[in-house]
């Protein structure tokens, strides 16, 4: 339903002025190709600065690519960016357009601007606010809400006036578990639903319901909700598969995390050897090891001098974060597990 080919966008270099350092030319998306299928939850996973938002802005018609094509439901979005607004609903990272409205008015106004008449906009507003548990705070302005609640209110606005494609840029940032669950069950219900206005054209296809494109840097969310995920690094898609398929690539490895009390006991030769393979972040070392190596490493650090210096350790099967690192992802930080 969404085909992307050769999408490239370069931000021009900025010259430094009056002591401020300049920035070199950045290729924010580099020859990106994607195929998103109808009815799936497709994810873009990558650390901050990987080019996820730039890619999404090009898919939603907010930014013109330098090169490449975007086709959504048969419409050329590069040539006709204004059509994107009639195919998809977009939840961006900024809420400043809605901040001073009440939750109810934000949802209603967005529905009106999505082409609903007043009666329909109000009916859908009420249904969505009920569904997301926002009815009790419907009369409060967004800027008076917590970050997670505000995000949920913006998500509600995105749902009023249904669209066959939902583009969500980090929708659950700042949300508590209850709000997250509300988001995913709302998404799930829309996927299961039959016959939104657009899809009613073709009953057979209508059975697949809403498609979701999700931007995230949260690996747990990516592993649990996504059907397929494209891993982005420095503007390139370095892998695209189901989460399980991606994890198979590092199936032979175990993640070992060691946290030292103060300094690592480098006088222990085995620990000194481990250091060369560790990614260090302060007192924390992260290692990806073969199972036997992991067993040996755990044996080392749980005995003798090393154990005295050890604060904590964990052993885990690999996550999408390990996949990202194994694929050569450059950023050592920026993906979160929550």
């Amino acid at each position: 339903m969404c085909a992307v080919r050769g999408l490239t966008k370069t931000y021009a270099a900025v010259r430094g002025r009056r002591g401020a350092p300049g920035t070199p030319e950045v290729r924010a998306t580099d020859d990106v190709a994607l195929d998103i299928r109808r009815g799936e939850i497709f994810g873009l996973l990558g650390p901050n600065g990987a080019g996820k938002s730039t890619l999404v802005r090009q898919l939603t018609g907010l930014m013109r690519p330098d090169r490449g094509s975007v086709e959504i439901l048969g419409h050329d979005i590069v040539a006709h960016p204004e059509r994107a607004a009639r195919i998809l609903a977009y939840l961006g990272q900024e809420s400043s357009a809605l901040d001073e409205l009440t939750v109810a008015l934000a949802a209603e106004t967005t529905g009106r601007l999505r082409g609903l008449d007043l009666r329909r906009a109000r009916a859908e507003r009420d249904a969505v606010l009920d569904e997301l548990g926002l009815a009790p705070i419907a009369g409060r302005p967004l800027k008076k809400l917590s970050g997670g609640q505000r995000r949920l209110a913006c998500f509600a606005a995105a749902l009023v006036g249904e669209r066959p494609l939902l583009v969500l840029d980090e929708p659950t940032t700042g949300m508590d578990p209850v709000a997250r669950r509300a988001v995913w069950s709302a998404v799930d219900r829309r996927r299961a639903e039959h016959g939104t206005t657009v899809l009613a054209v073709d009953r057979r296809r209508a059975e697949h319901g809403t498609t979701v494109l999700l931007v995230t840097h949260n690996v747990i969310e990516a592993e649990t909700v996504l059907d397929r995920v494209a891993v982005l690094d420095q503007g390139r898609v370095i892998a695209c598969d189901t989460p399980a398929g991606l994890k198979e690539r590092v199936a032979g490895e175990v993640r070992v995390e060691l946290v030292w009390r103060e300094n690592a006991p480098m006088q222990v030769p085995e620990v000194a050897a481990l250091r060369q393979r560790a990614v260090e972040a302060g007192r924390r070392w992260t290692l990806r090891l073969a199972p036997e190596e992991a067993r040996a490493a755990v044996a080392t650090v749980t005995g003798g001098a090393a154990f005295a210096a050890l604060d904590d350790f964990t052993l885990a099967t690999p996550s999408l974060e390990d996949v990202y690192l194994a694929l050569g992802g450059a950023a050592r930080q920026g993906l979160v597990r929550a």
Partner: protein, 274 residues
């Protein structure tokens, strides 16, 4: 730790199909101009309750203060008419030009325009809805200022109704300029600066009686759209105002309003897709 319900995770992957289906799907409805303009207007008006009241108060307070100061310089008659008329229109300039310029500048640079740009709403609806709301914000302050000024300088109150035409027309001209400044300024601070400068110009050139100004300043005064709002209201204090001139002044406001709102709409379109 995962906050995702198990049912969401355990779901068969959808069938692979359709990416090259060839036939374009039907598009969702477009929002029509007037209903979406009304929706934007209503949403913007409601913002006054949350954000704008202190600033509206400042606008009125400033104009009242100016008139009290001018009371020491101007005794009455024709000069007083310009002071009252100018101070009333300054309220419009403060809110429509200065605050709207700031609003659009901030909206653009915070990424808030993305919200509107990803909705099928005509650009004119967003610009006109916001401009109309800001022009409406000025009505109470303008009225309070005019009434206070008339009482202060002993001028008649009978022509107050003229403001009902002056406020929307001067409001259209100034809010169009404000929106265009906010949407075209390369940085938000510049949008604020342009709005402030415009407001200062309206203040200095509108409140002072034109007879005392040097030729160059008078020329600058003629270039400022708010001047025509000031002139229109000031002309109606006399016993038998020349209504043709009043209508002419208002026509200038309306013309500038049409042009500046058209420019602002173009600027919005340009700012929305980068």
């Amino acid at each position: 730790m995962s906050a995702v319900p198990a049912g969401v995770a355990a779901r068969p992957a959808p069938a692979a199909e359709d990416t090259g289906a060839g036939r374009a799907a039907e598009l969702g409805p477009r929002a029509r101009l007037w209903p979406s303009l009304a929706a934007v207007y209503r949403a913007q008006l409601s913002r006054a309750r949350v954000a704008r009241i202190p600033l509206l108060f400042v606008a009125t307070f400033q104009s009242v203060g100016i008139m009290i100061m001018m009371r020491g310089v101007v005794s009455g008659g024709g000069e007083a008419e310009y002071v009252v008329s100018g101070a009333s229109v300054v309220v419009v300039a403060y809110v429509a030009l200065n605050l709207l310029s700031q609003y659009f500048g901030q909206l653009r640079f915070s990424g808030g325009l993305d919200h509107y740009a990803t909705l099928p709403v005509p650009p004119a609806a967003v610009v006109l809805g916001a401009a109309a709301a800001y022009a409406s914000f000025t009505v109470p302050g303008t009225m309070v200022t005019a009434v206070f000024g008339c009482l202060l300088f002993g001028l008649p109150l009978g022509n107050l109704w003229v403001l009902l035409a002056v406020v929307p027309l001067a409001g259209a001209a100034l809010s169009g300029l404000g929106a265009a400044c906010g949407l075209l300024a390369p940085r938000p601070e510049l949008a604020t600066l342009l709005g402030q400068l415009g407001m200062s110009a309206a203040l200095l050139l509108g409140v002072l009686p034109p007879d005392r100004m040097p030729e160059a300043v008078r020329f600058a005064r003629d270039l400022l759209p708010s001047t025509y709002g000031v002139e229109a209201y000031a002309r109606t204090f006399g016993g038998s105002p020349n209504w043709a001139y009043v209508a002419g002044d208002m026509a200038v406001c309306a013309g500038v309003g049409v042009v500046s709102l058209a420019v602002a709409t173009w600027a919005y379109r340009r700012a929305a897709v980068r």
